[in-house]
Structure formats: C-alpha cells, structure tokens
Symmetry: C2
Subunit: 376 residues, 2 copies
C-alpha cells in the first residue's frame, strides 16, 4: 500500500512536469509566430538553413550535458520545430515580388491546384482557378495573367495545353505540374511562343504545408522570367532543384512507374495468396507494418490515377518489361537453388551501392526505432 502511494506521488510529479512542458511549448509557438510575423512584414526569408543547423548542434550539446541522448534530442527538436512550421501553414508568407502576380491554376479545384492556390494567395498574389465548368472565363482572365500552371490528370495534360495556349498573351509564363516532363514541355513549347517552364512538385496534395518538400524545375524557354516563382517556392520552405527533363523522366520511370506497379503487384499477390493485411499486422514488426501501410494506402486511392502513372508513356512500360526480364535471370537462381549465384549478385550490388549502403543502414536504423516508438 505504501508502495502504491509512493508510486502515485511519482506519477503526479511526472504529470506536473508534462504540464510544464506543454506550457513551454505553447509559449514557444507564440514566440515563433511573432518571429514569422516580423519576417513576413519585413520581407525576410522565413527559413534560414544555417540557423537551423546551428540551433540543432547547440541543442544536441545541451542535451548531452543533461544526460540525454543527443540523437534523440535532435529528433525531438526537429519535431518541435516542425510543429511551429505547421502552426504557420494557415498564416501568411512573404511575397517574392514587389507587386502581386496573377497566377491561373488550370485544374485549380483538384488537390494540388487547391493547395498551391492557397499558398499563392497567402503570399499576397492573386490566384485564379479554371476547370471544365468555367472554361469560358479563360478569355476574360487571359490579359491579366503573369503565369498559368496546368495541373490536370496526366492523360489530358497535353490536350489542355493545346486548347489553352492560343488564348494566352505571349509574355505569360506557361507551366505545368505533371509528373513527367519531356512531353508536356514539348507540348508547351509548340503551343506557346512565350516563357515556358516544366514543374514537378514531388509530394501529394495532403501535406500539411510545403516546408521541406521538393520542387523540380525544368527550363523550357526564357525560364529566368519565372525566377520569382522559384524564389516564392523557397519562401514557402521548399527545396528547388533544376533538372534536365530527360534525366528527370528517366529517374521518374523508376521512382513512379516501377514503384507503383510493384505496389499493385504486392497487393494483388496478397489477394492471390489469400493473406489478409489485417491478419498480417498481427505478425508485423514496426518496419513491416510501415511497409504494409505504404502498400495499403495505394488501394484507398483512385485506380485510374495509378493506371495513368504506370501507363504514362511507352518508355515507362518498356522499363517494366526490362525489369521483368531482369527478374527472370534472378529467378533462375531460385529455381536451381543456386545460393552462391544469389550471394555473388548480392555482393556486386554491395559494390555498386558503395558507401551509400552504410549510410542507409544508419539512417534506416533511426527510422525503425522511431517506428517502434509509434506503431505497436
């Protein structure tokens, strides 16, 4: 009984500490909001990479002095900083230009269109949206537009570009958000005589904010005219990379086409093998649970969207066939119970991956431990 009483007192102490931590977090968010407000008013960049690194290193050191694992402390701080960023997502951002720009999102009612419209408006620009329903308004909008961003399903992108372009002023920047770049870029260059850029925001529409997300930027024609948009992406906290459209598409065939095909393959094989995902969860380590969730999420989404991604173009389909033929070679080892062949192939990949493999082991180790904290 005395033990229980003692334990109860200790628990109350912990609750009290937790309340104090929550109070401090509330205070912290308030100060961060003030900082952001000041920066927005004075047109200063909101995120300064160097400052975040400096802050992290100091925090690690201070944690270590208090007997707290510095790696844990770094994750902890990143989580706290992410919370401040999230609190900001509903607020305003600095604008990258003196005068507001007029930006039309074609397909602006879709997930990505709506997201970027919100950010465009929250930075003090003027955003427009057009869709099948109000296509007739295009002519009225056209004279005002500084930039047009096409964000429609991949299978209609080129059609929309061709229908749209004749209505635009020659100095309007024409851009698209499609996940492949060579063909839309070619269509835009053919259909429009003014500035052209191909964009690929590499995230889904459900992200809480754009901070730390990736924007791929492909030059078409006079792309320096879109430098203000690049800068605006950075002000939203994005990482912007310049890419050759062909190189981008080559990588995306693997990242988008093959990955999503393999996800369907896995789901479809689980059905064939009659292994219900809920049953599998019983046997899941945290990391397998995460993989199962990544496969499962696909099937809560639109089949046609994924068909569009996988069947985007001929090169992508050919890649899948190459992949299958490559697999055939590995299957021979399985058929022949050729373990030493497997080991040889494994080691040649180890050589190809080089020091990346050790980096991956370390980084994924962190990930696995975080998952174990959360999902079990």
């Amino acid at each position: 009984m005395a033990d229980q009483k003692h334990l109860k007192k200790q628990r109350e102490q912990i609750d009290d500490i937790d309340n104090q931590i929550l109070d401090l977090l509330q205070q912290r968010n308030r100060v961060v909001q003030e900082v952001i407000q000041t920066k927005v008013e004075k047109q200063l960049p909101v995120f300064v990479a160097g400052r975040e690194e400096e802050k992290t290193n100091a925090f690690r050191k201070k944690a270590e002095e208090r007997g707290i694992d510095p790696n844990w402390a770094e994750d902890f701080l990143r989580m706290v900083m992410a919370s401040s960023r999230a609190a900001q997502s509903a607020k305003t951002f600095p604008r990258s230009t003196k005068e507001p720009k007029h930006v039309l999102y074609v397909g602006g009612e879709g997930g990505m269109g709506a997201l970027y419209r919100k950010f465009t408006e929250n930075s003090g620009h003027i955003a427009y949206s057009i869709d099948k329903g109000n296509w007739y308004q295009l002519e009225e909008m056209a004279p005002k537009l500084d930039m047009v961003i096409v964000t429609v399903p991949i299978r209609v992108t080129e059609d929309v570009i061709r229908r749209l372009s004749p209505k635009l002023k020659p100095d309007t920047i024409l851009a698209d958000f499609t996940s492949n770049k060579s063909e839309p870029l070619k269509a835009m260059l053919d259909a429009h005589s003014g500035p052209v850029v191909g964009l690929h925001p590499m995230h889904g529409p459900s992200v809480p904010n754009l901070s730390k997300q990736l924007m791929v930027f492909c030059s078409g024609r006079e792309s320096e005219k879109a430098d203000w948009f690049k800068e605006q992406c950075r002000l939203w906290g994005m990482r912007v990379i310049d890419a050759e459209p062909e190189k981008h598409d080559h990588v995306m065939n693997l990242v988008q086409g093959l990955r999503h095909f393999v996800a369907l393959l896995h789901g479809s094989f689980m059905k064939e093998y009659d292994l219900n995902p809920e049953e599998m969860l019983e046997y899941s380590s945290p990391i397998y649970r995460a993989e199962l969730m990544m496969t499962g999420r696909i099937f809560a989404q639109d089949a046609e969207l994924y068909a569009d991604i996988v069947f985007a173009n001929k090169e992508r389909r050919e890649l899948l066939l190459t992949f299958f033929n490559h697999q055939k070679k590995l299957m021979e080892m399985v058929e022949k119970d050729d373990k030493s062949g497997f080991i040889k192939e494994f080691e040649s990949v180890t050589d190809f991956f080089g020091s990346f493999a050790s980096q991956a082991l370390k980084e994924s180790g962190y990930l696995i431990n975080r998952l174990a904290d959360r999902f079990s």
Copy 2:
C-alpha cells in the same frame, strides 16, 4: 537594424524556452528511473498498457487546450516516453520467477544471443553462452539448465539441435530463435523428450531495447512449462503472440522470403539501369528516401545471411516462383497497354483490402509527414 535586434531577442527567448524544456526532460527521466526502481524492487510490472493509454488521452486534451495539435502532441509524448524507456535499457528489469532461472544461449556470442543474454542477466537470471569455441563446456553446464535457446544461423539450426539435445536433462525446456518454425520445432521434438517451444523474436539485434517488440511463441510439447519465459518477455515490454507454426511460416515466407528477394531485385535492377542511389536522393521525396534507405541497408549486411533467409526452404523458393508467375499475368497488361485490365485488377485488390486501405492511408500519412520533418 532595429528588426535584427528584435529578432535576436526573440531567438534568445526561444533558446531560453528550449533550455527549460531540456531541464524538465532531465527531471522527468530522473523520476521515471525512480518509478522503475521501485517497481523492480517490488516485483511490479514496469509497463502498464492501460496507464499509457490514459496518460496519452489526458495529454492530448491538455495540448488541445493550449492550441497544440493533439495528434502532434501524442507523437511528442510517445517520443518522450520512448526516451525514458531507452534510458532504462542499461538498467535492471523485474524477474518473472521467485528463483533465478539458468538459461543457456547456444550461439550466445551472436547479435541476438548477446542481446537476450544481457536482458536475461539484467532480470536477475543466470545466462550461459556456448559456441563452437567452448562446445566442450556443454556437459558441465547441462545439469543446471532450466532452458536452452538455440540462436544460430538458420542453415545449421537443425544440426545444432541434434548435436545438443542428447546432453540435456529431460526436464530442460528446449527452444530456438529461428525465423521459420515448423522444421526446427519438428527437429526439437524428435531430438528432445522434454518441454519444447519455438520462438521467433521479430526484430534485429540492433534495437536499443525490447520494449514493444514482437515475440512469436509456438507450442511444441508441455509448453506451459515455459510460461515464466513468456511472462519475462512481457516484463521486458514485449508483445507476445501465440501462433501455429505452419501459419507463422506461411506468413513469413512472404514477410521474410519475398520481401528480401524483392530488395535484392531492386538493388540489382538499379545497378542494371545504372541509377546510382546517391543520384536518386536528389530526386527523393521523404517517403521515397525512406524506401531507398530500406533497400540500401540490406547491402551493408552479410550476403550469406540474406541468402539463408531467401533460400530457407523449398516452400519459400516455390513462393517466389508463384510470385513470378503471378507477375507474368500482370506483365501481359503492360505489354498490351491494357490500362482497363490494370484498373480492374487494382479495384479487385481494393475490395480485398477493404477498410484496411483507408486505415493505411491515414497511418502512412502520419508517417510521411514525420519523415518530411526529419529527412530533407
């Protein structure tokens, strides 16, 4: 200039708040250590699931009152609680039995053996280790042993069981840690007349502690004699599930065999396609980065270990061939550009997955956002 000064002051305020949070975390860890110490001394269970849920719900509510997103707050609290657990890993645990048990780990110098030996000893039992090097000591140890756990590479498990068993007392519990269960269990039942259980700890040797990890428990003979070990696993914070060995192996053929084969396939195809993983990182969204790390980590590890997993048994190899044949059907759609066939297959998987797909979308959304905080 005045702005800079003002910003500097605000930054100092944030640093000051962060220092206070670190101080509170240090205090919190201290109290948690005291709680654990009390529990260990009084033989009370260290983790009480109900208490953790209650605590989490109260914390969510208090966070919301302070304008902090309750989902974020829950993750935050779990991270804080995980830190307390980690601090405990070097310390002692309550023992599930009145008298200490004598447990031999065969292969006790390997990763898993060393890990469980440490936990066994830290709970006040007596742990022994045997390996090729000191095999001759087995006869001397045998009369004392309450339990023997075989944790050696899968390819030698059955041999080791056959060599070992004749030396054991009939009432010693014989167990193994192999990742397949039917065959080792059969070998143990054949070789030993006493209690037999098959175990599969579903995690790697590099976990910081056993908390929330999964232990699969398969009954062989008189398995109730090993109830104290089951209870000990729970005292270490593990989740223990009872499983039929055949069902376990059926699931593991997919979870272990297919997954690791597909990982080799991916790495090997990246080499073929000449896409260096470091180059890929440039184009990575946080979630693809995580996937790349999960593939990459494999190639920093022992090729033979993975060959053993993939080529563990005939059933596993046959599964890979079934998988390949299943894929052949899907490839026909790709070859014929049969998008509607793809959509039909996709939708049938959606039906098979049922409500799991929406759960997966939600849970993985959380995961993706956490990854975006961390890796970019």
